[in-house]
C-alpha cells in the first residue's frame, strides 16, 4: 500500500535508498546534498539497512571507492553536489567507461565562482558528456521515483552504465512537500536483487585496462551503444513503474502541447512554476505549452523535435551558462534536433535561475510574451537572460 507523507527532496531520496538497501555507500558531505548521506548513515547506524557506509576523505575518493565497490559486484550509491562533483570528474568518466551501474544522487548546485550554494544545473550539465545516464526531477516525488527506478535502468544487461539522479538544490532538496511513498516490499520487489554477471570477487578479470589508439575508438563506440540502449530501458522501466504506482514516466513530459503555438522546453523544478504560467495563459486563450525534459542523457532529440513540430516559436530554458556566446546545453540539443528534423521556427534560448535566482510564474509569462512577439515580428536576439538586472 502506498503511503501519503510529506518529505523534503533529500529525505525522499534517503528514504528510497533505505528501501533499496544498496550494498555500499561511499560519500563525502557537501551542501545541499549533505542530508542524503547524513540520513542514510543514521539508517546504517540504526541497523535499518545493511549497507557498508564508507566515510571517505573527499569526493575523488568517494567515486573511486564507488568504482571499486561496483567492480567487486556491490550495488553502490553516492551523493554529491557542485564542487563535490567537480572533484569526482576524472572518476565519472571511468565509471561509465568501465560500464559500472552505480547511482549518484546529485543535488544540483551552482559551480563557483563567485562561490554560491544555491541551485543551478552547471554541475550536472558540465558532466553531460561523461557517459552517464541523467534523469532530472521537478519535485521531491520525482526525485524519489527516479531513485527507485535508477538501478533497474543502470543494471539492465543492455545498459550497465552509471546513472545520475538529479534534483534542484534547496528548491526541492530542502522544501517539505507532499509525497506518495511505496511500501518497502514493493520497492524491494521492483528493484530486485543485484546479480552482476561478472565481478572481481567471483571472476578472474582485469577492470579498466589501458587501450591503445587501435582499441580506444572502438571502446567509445561500444560505450555509446550502451547509452543508446538506455533509451528504451528508461521508457520500459518508467512504464512498469507507472503500472505499479500510477505515476508513469518517459523521456520527457508534454504539458498542453497538443495545440500549442508557442512552447518552452525546460528541466527541473522551474517546470512546475512554468505549468502554472501555462495554465494562467491558457485561461486567457493563449495556446501555450511546455516540454519538461526528464532524461537529458541519452537525449531524446528526435522525439522532442516531433513534439515541437507544430509550434511557431520555442523558448529553450537553460539553468546554466555555457560560456560559448551561442546557446546553453539544452538549447544546443533542441536546436540541433529541430534542424535535423528540418523544422524551422523562432528559437530563443534563455539562461535563467543561475545560483538560485528565483523563477516566478510572472517570469515565465514574460518568456511566453517574448515568444509571441518573436512570432509576430521575428527576432535576432536569440540568446537572452531571464531576470538579470541590466
Amino acid at each position: 500500500m502506498a503511503k501519503r507523507d510529506r518529505l523534503s527532496g533529500n529525505e525522499a531520496v534517503a528514504e528510497a535508498l533505505r528501501q533499496i538497501n544498496p550494498d555500499v555507500m561511499p560519500a563525502f558531505p557537501i551542501t545541499p546534498s549533505t542530508e542524503i548521506p547524513q540520513y542514510f548513515s543514521k539508517y546504517c547506524a540504526d541497523g535499518k539497512v545493511d549497507t557498508e557506509f564508507i566515510p571517505v576523505e573527499s569526493e575523488h575518493s568517494a567515486m573511486s571507492a564507488a568504482i571499486g565497490a561496483e567492480s567487486a559486484g556491490a550495488r553502490t550509491v553516492s551523493a554529491t553536489s557542485s564542487a563535490g562533483m567537480a572533484y569526482m570528474w576524472e572518476e565519472l568518466y571511468l565509471a561509465s567507461a568501465n560500464r559500472l551501474p552505480l547511482a549518484l544522487a546529485l543535488v544540483n548546485r551552482a559551480l563557483s565562482g563567485p562561490i554560491n550554494i544555491n541551485c543551478d544545473h552547471s554541475d550536472s550539465m558540465g558532466a553531460r558528456d561523461a557517459g552517464w545516464i541523467q534523469l532530472y526531477a521537478e519535485t521531491n516525488q520525482e526525485a524519489y521515483d527516479n531513485m527507485v527506478q535508477a538501478y533497474r535502468i543502470a543494471e539492465h544487461k543492455d545498459v550497465r552504465l552509471p546513472i545520475m539522479i538529479c534534483q534542484d538544490g534547496f528548491i526541492t532538496s530542502h522544501a517539505v512537500q507532499n509525497i506518495m511513498l511505496m511500501d518497502d516490499a514493493e520497492v524491494k520487489g521492483f528493484v530486485g536483487e543485484y546479480e552482476p554477471e561478472h565481478s572481481l570477487l567471483k571472476d578472474t578479470m582485469a577492470v579498466g585496462p589501458y587501450s591503445v589508439s587501435n582499441y580506444y575508438m572502438e571502446a567509445r563506440r561500444a560505450q555509446m551503444e550502451a547509452l543508446r540502449n538506455a533509451k528504451a530501458v528508461v521508457k520500459a522501466v518508467g512504464e512498469e513503474f507507472g503500472e505499479l504506482t500510477g505515476r508513469k514516466y518517459g523521456w520527457f513530459e508534454e504539458y498542453c502541447m497538443e495545440d500549442a503555438e508557442v512552447a518552452i522546453v525546460i528541466i527541473g523544478s522551474a517546470a512546475g512554476t512554468a505549468k502554472d504560467a501555462v495554465d494562467r495563459l491558457r485561461k486567457e486563450g493563449k495556446k501555450v505549452g511546455l516540454i519538461k525534459v526528464r532524461m537529458f542523457r541519452p537525449f531524446p532529440g528526435t522525439e522532442i523535435a516531433e513534439a515541437l513540430k507544430n509550434v511557431k516559436a520555442v523558448g529553450l530554458m537553460d539553468r546554466t551558462e555555457s560560456f560559448n556566446d551561442c546557446c546553453g546545453p539544452l538549447g544546443a540539443e533542441v536546436t540541433a534536433a529541430l534542424f535535423r528534423a528540418k523544422k524551422q521556427c523562432e528559437m530563443i534560448n534563455w539562461v535563467y535561475g543561475l545560483g538560485g535566482r528565483d523563477v516566478r510564474v510572472e517570469d515565465i509569462e514574460k518568456v511566453f510574451a517574448d515568444l509571441y512577439d518573436a512570432v509576430e515580428n521575428g527576432t535576432n536576439d536569440t540568446y537572452r537572460y531571464l531576470g538579470v538586472r541590466e
Binding site: N98, T204, M205, P209, A219
Partner: protein
C-alpha cells in the same frame, strides 16, 4: 558480455570488444609478443653459468625460464632487452651489446 579473449585483435569490430574493455583471463601477457620491442638481445653462454639462478627473479618480463631446476634459454618472445640480467650475472654468463660486449 564475456567475449572470447581470442576474438580480440587489432582488427576486431567494436561489437567484439568486452564490456567496459574488461579482460576475463589471467596471464594474458603471454599472448603479447613484447620481444620485438628491442633490437639488442642478451645472449646466454651456458658454459660459464654456475646455476645460481640470480638472473631469474630480476627479469621484469619473466623471460628467463627455469626448467627442471636449471636455467633455461631466453624467451626471446618476451625479453625486451633491458639488460638487468647482464648486471646480475656474476660469472659473466650473459653477454649483451652495449652492456658488457
Amino acid at each position: 558480455m564475456k567475449t572470447d579473449f581470442d576474438k580480440l585483435s587489432q582488427s576486431c569490430s567494436w561489437k567484439d570488444l568486452t564490456e567496459g574493455m574488461m579482460i576475463f583471463e589471467g596471464g594474458t601477457t603471454k599472448a603479447f609478443k613484447t620481444g620485438e620491442w628491442t633490437s639488442v638481445k642478451p645472449e646466454f653462454a651456458s658454459d660459464k653459468c654456475v646455476q645460481c639462478l640470480l638472473c631469474v627473479p630480476v627479469c621484469p618480463d619473466s623471460a628467463i625460464p627455469v626448467v627442471d631446476g636449471k636455467r633455461g634459454e631466453f624467451d626471446y618472445d618476451h625479453c625486451k632487452g633491458c639488460g638487468i640480467c647482464v648486471n646480475a650475472c656474476r660469472p659473466g654468463a650473459i653477454l649483451m651489446e652495449g652492456v658488457n660486449k
